[in-house]
Amino acid sequence: MVNTPNSIVMKEVTDPRELAIASSQRERFDRNSAWLQAHIEEIYSAHRGRVICVAGEELFVADDTEGAIALARAAHPEDDGWFTRYIPKERLPRIYAL
């Protein structure tokens, strides 16, 4: 178990340009996340054991992370709000607590 003290420094972003870019990206992330939540049952049923990437409110699936991202980026190069998830092969009760 790695349980050593870790120093994390918190800092507020104050640059208006950086904030505007970050907010726009977050809006795209929000849309992609909401889209996944709306389609999650069908997506998870169909793609167990694979990696998904959501971009442009569209699904991209591959056997590995690089493949899913490549498909998403090719289809929606303008969307920086994409994100990935690995879908475990089995549906099991989960205990995380690393």
Partner: protein, 145 residues
């Protein structure tokens, strides 16, 4: 200071408390990511697929992390997380984070005590609330008569 998370459906269609944020990648772009809020985890840990998407140079392998299923191999990466406050201000958390190297070890990144203990944490399924409170924000527990 207040950061709102949400209850998101996971692979088993169970809603779990998640904080969405961005992580600084090797090319200095920000990558959207989801973190399971895990008050039992000692450290914040990136899943393997998030680690791959960041393309960060990993430090030497950290020993390992342990959980119910045994241990998992991890590496250390130095980067920043970017959270969005309830008032839309962005806040960065710079530090060394752990990352799993096998996708089977951790299907979703976890936000652990290294960050959570900087705040008061509310995880309340009944009221559909997930939030981190700090600074001038406090919570109150009341009893109805």
């Amino acid at each position: 200071m207040r950061f709102d998370g949400e209850w998101l459906l996971c692979d088993d269609w169970v809603a779990r408390p998640v904080l969405r944020c961005e992580i600084l990648a090797a090319d200095r772009s920000w990558r959207a990511a989801e973190f399971l809020i895990d008050s039992g985890a000692d450290r914040t840990v990136f899943s393997a697929n998030v680690l791959k998407s960041l393309r960060l140079e990993a430090g030497p392998p950290a020993a390992s992390v342990g959980g119910v299923g045994g241990t998992a191999d991890v590496v250390t990466v130095g980067t920043e997380l970017r959270f969005t406050r309830a008032d839309s201000v962005k806040v960065l958390f710079r530090g060394d984070y752990l990352a799993c190297t096998s996708p089977k070890s951790l299907d979703m990144s976890v936000l652990g005590r290294d960050i959570l203990e900087m705040f008061a944490l509310i995880v309340d399924r009944r009221s559909n609330t997930v939030c981190l409170l700090g600074g001038r924000h406090r919570y109150a527990i009341t009893e109805n008569s």
